[in-house]
């Protein structure tokens, strides 16, 4: 009759008195947050003075409470009505009512069907699965994270400095980042874009990150920069290929290692601060790479641009990007994001492309403050000052808030589309039958139909065969019949002939013709011995 309510003794009761539950203190805030999302009714329930323990099942409707109330059985309603002011017994009242409305429903009223039914369980007791993010966090921090960042741009734009500034560490100390190797200029010097890797393990508050920075020295530095994008694209696709191989391998324990995921999670593309617009090489390269990596354009050396110039330049760069259909990275907007996140994302989008300045050197300002920045005769530009450049925003987006999203998009969208393209190119077609819903009914039906079809077919076949055989036999019989007829005639003729001969003989004998052919006598005819 009433909605099922588990017996209250199964759950610790929060009504009337505190149980000495050590976990309760932990559960309280969690429980509080959950009940905060409960509907209006439960808050009014609280004001009602009634308290339910255990799990309450609330059927939510798009309609108002009246329709909701109509689902109750008349018995319940009457009971609730009588106990409106008094505290209701926990077992009986499964559905709370706002104290303000007194509902008088007659059983005759037809219950209205719910339009949308969402069952939400409001927990007032402590369950504990809200601790799940903490568990994941603990496990993930033990394992560490991997982040692969690629920087691309002409030499001298401050790529290395910016990466060092982002991660507050001079990666050159870790290994050889051959940023300023002078290969010389001449016809014999190979004019290729190289790809160099440098990996460092950085740690902050117990969270370890395996950071790989991929540099592209030689990009855009030569007279002829045709196909400068090719080595970069090849490298990105090679990383996808390696991951695909690791995924398809028979033993996939490698996938759990951090080192296996070498896919590029973000590409910082450095734009020269000309103040005019994008160069042809920028457009070309960005077009080629935007489908395979999360492309984040960045205006390098932004200390050459004044405020107005920065804004004009950004507007023109954005117009160019849109005009050529280059898909740069956009933070996703989810429906259940809170206001802060939405605001943050909008700010990022407004500031892209980020105008950045990088520096590791600490400068002492006249006021005594020490900042990271660049010292000029006319002033000091502070890297960490949002008024001076967009470095803080870039770091926020790249490292603090969107690192996981970048990795996610790489794994889900970019990698999957690459994999699809590659496999379809290999000739593996989509097998739609894998996705068909299998219900036993339908399956039985299908089988039955198949069976019947088979039977029908067999029947047809057998009929055909039968008819065929019959025809054959018939033909044979007809043939033999004819033969018989033929023989019969033959024999008949022969007999006739013999009969005639004998008749003649008879006549002759009766006539007594002596002439008898000796021949015939020899033939064994009966002779009288004359």
């Amino acid at each position: 009759m009433s909605a099922t309510v588990p017996h209250p003794s199964l759950f610790p009761s929060t009504s009337g008195g505190q149980t000495a539950d050590p976990l309760q203190s932990l559960g309280e805030p969690i429980g509080a947050t959950i009940t905060a999302t409960a509907t209006r009714m439960s808050s009014e329930r609280g004001s009602d003075g009634t308290e339910e323990s255990g799990v309450m099942v609330q059927r939510e409707h798009v309609e108002e409470d009246e329709a909701y109330m109509s689902l109750q059985s008349p018995h319940e309603v009457r009971e609730l009505q009588t106990q409106a002011s008094a505290p209701t017994s926990p077992v009986e009242s499964s559905t709370p009512i706002p104290s303000s409305t007194v509902v008088d429903l007659t059983p005759a009223e037809a219950p209205k069907p719910p339009v949308k039914e969402i069952i939400r369980k409001t927990i007032t007791g402590y369950v504990g699965f809200a601790n799940l993010p903490n568990q994941w966090h603990r496990k993930a921090t033990a394992k560490g994270f991997a982040f692969n960042l690629m920087v691309c741009g002409e030499s001298g734009l401050g790529k290395t400095t910016l990466v060092n500034t982002l991660f507050a560490k001079s990666l050159e100390d870790q290994g050889v980042l051959p940023s300023k190797v002078d290969k010389g200029i001449g016809p014999e010097v190979p004019k290729t874009v190289e790809i160099t890797n440098i990996t460092a393990n950085i740690e902050e508050s117990g969270v370890r990150c395996r950071l790989t920075v991929v540099d592209t020295p030689g990009f855009g530095d030569y007279i002829n920069n045709d196909l400068a994008w090719r080595p970069i694209l090849d490298n990105v696709e090679k990383r996808f290929n390696d991951y695909l191989d690791a995924e398809n391998a028979p033993t996939r324990t490698q996938l759990r290692n951090l080192e296996t995921d070498k896919r590029i999670h973000a590409l910082l593309y450095f734009i020269q601060p000309t103040g005019h617009s994008l160069k042809p090489i920028d457009i070309e390269v960005m077009k080629r790479l935007c489908d395979r990596v999360n492309l984040i354009p960045v205006i390098a050396k932004a200390d050459t641009l004044t405020d107005d110039e920065v804004n004009t330049f950004k507007a023109r760069v954005r117009a160019d990007i849109e005009h050529h259909g280059i898909k740069t990275y956009k933070p996703e907007e989810n429906d259940y994001d809170d206001e802060d996140t939405i605001m943050e994302n909008r700010e990022f989008m407004a500031k892209m492309p980020f105008a950045v300045v990088g520096s590791l050197t600490q400068i002492e300002l006249p006021g005594g403050r020490r900042v990271r920045g660049r010292k000029y005769p006319w002033g000091v530009i502070e890297v960490d000052n949002e008024d001076h450049c967009d470095f803080v925003k870039l770091r926020e987006m790249l490292v603090r808030t969107h690192m996981e999203e970048l990795k996610d998009r790489t794994a889900q969208t970019l990698y999957e589309s690459y994999r699809t393209e590659k496999l379809m190119a290999m000739g593996i077609s989509q097998d739609a039958s894998v996705f068909k819903e299998i219900s036993p009914q339908a399956k039985l039906e299908e089988e039955r139909q198949l069976h019947e079809a088979k039977l029908a077919k067999m029947e047809n076949e057998m009929k055909l065969v039968f008819a065929q055989k019959v025809a054959e036999k018939e033909q044979k019989l007809r043939q033999s019949e004819e033969e018989l007829y033929a023989r019969h005639r033959e024999m008949k003729e022969q007999l006739e002939k013999q009969k005639q001969e004998i008749e003649q003989k008879k006549i002759r004998i009766e006539a007594g013709t002596p002439t008898m052919e000796v021949k015939t006598g020899k033939r064994g005819k009966f002779s009288l011995g004359r």
Partner: protein
């Protein structure tokens, strides 16, 4: 002895008459030829001067802004490509604008040759060809005008007197492959002055480093830059030359708008205003604009014109005429000599040019 008031500080490479074999004779009284300098000056002021300057560099390096700053006038448009639908030029084109500037009694016919589209595509092979061709074409046009039977009294000089080459400010690096190639080609035909553009992206230490690297690159690749060291140079001239060469390449910042100085509001300065400081273009501590301006305008303007005529044009002319002589000598032997007209000294150093 009559003293000669100099027109300007003695530029390098000028010939002196005392080198000829003639004894100097003291004068007994007043003759009056010392005013010839005033007469020349008056005539030159009447005629006006012609100066042709060319700017070469990638787009967005501040060439047009720099020209506007140098001549303190709005001469070139510096906005660049505004709409994404505007096509990007695929080859280097040459565009010349002429202005007449007046400062004091001096009239200057200034021609600025811009090279839009230089090094703006992905494959920049031979993007310097149109520039070199243009320079040679001007020499060739002048030569033809000189060689005609009936010459104009004053041939309009369209030869490029000075070429400013703008280098990208790359931190910690010297010249790029393209820079080396273009500088080598240009230094053969025109006076080249290399300039580091937008040097407000380099701190003072970075500037010193970059200059060192670039200077060593000049030596390494054998790029011969103006001012040239000539065999007959006085010590002063050599000193000046040396000084200039220690400053090359000049670190410049261009700014065409003026605003009041933050600490002295009554003074208008040209510069750039950023949130972290105010750059004054004419402040030597901020950039080397004043040195370059002095070099180009105050001390070496006439010498640039002179060197173009004496070194580059003469070299071009000699090559052309020799080539003509050889080609016609190969064709028909007799007429070869006619092509080489006997030419009195064309060093019209002081009287008309």
């Amino acid at each position: 002895m009559a003293s000669v008031a100099p027109l300007s500080p003695r530029p390098a490479g000028s010939f002196s008459i005392e080198n000829e074999q003639a004894p100097s004779v003291p004068l007994g009284g007043y003759v009056g030829f010392q005013t010839i300098t005033d007469q020349i000056q008056k005539r030159m002021l009447q005629r006006g001067f012609e100066f042709n300057i060319m700017v070469v560099g990638q787009s967005g390096l501040g060439k047009s802004t720099f020209i506007n700053t140098l001549f303190n006038a709005s001469l070139l448009s510096s906005t660049g490509r505004t709409l994404p639908t505007t096509p990007i030029p695929q080859t280097t084109s040459i565009s010349t604008t002429t202005h007449t500037l007046t400062e004091g009694p001096v009239r200057l016919h200034l021609s600025i040759t811009d090279t839009p589209g230089f090094a703006d595509t992905i494959n920049n092979d031979r993007c310097w060809d149109p520039i070199v061709k243009y320079i040679k074409d001007q020499h060739s046009a002048f030569l033809r005008k000189e060689l005609t039977a009936q010459r104009e009294s004053r041939i309009r000089d369209t030869r490029i007197h000075c070429c400013l080459y703008f280098v990208k400010p790359r931190g910690g690096r010297g010249l790029s492959e393209l820079d080396v190639m273009v500088l080598k080609k240009l230094a053969d035909v025109v006076n080249v002055v290399p300039v580091i553009a937008k040097s407000d992206s380099l701190t003072l230490e970075e500037r010193a480093e970059v200059k060192e690297l670039i200077r060593s690159d000049f030596q390494k690749y054998g790029i011969n830059l103006y001012p040239y060291s000539a065999p007959f140079m006085t010590d002063d001239d050599s000193a000046i030359n040396h000084q200039i060469h220690s400053l090359i390449p000049f670190c410049v910042i261009g700014a065409s708008s003026s605003f009041p100085h933050p600490s002295h509001p009554q003074k208008l300065i040209r510069g750039r205003r950023t949130r972290w400081g105010v750059i004054d273009v004419e402040d030597e501590r901020h950039c080397e604009f004043v040195y370059l301006r002095n070099f180009l305008m105050v001390t070496h303007l006439y010498d640039l014109i002179d060197t173009t005529r004496e070194v580059h044009y003469e070299g071009f002319r000699a090559k052309q005429l020799l080539a003509l002589k050889e080609s016609s000598a190969g064709g028909n032997a007799g007429q070869g000599q006619q092509q080489q007209p006997g030419r009195p000294s064309s060093r019209q150093a002081l009287g008309g040019y």
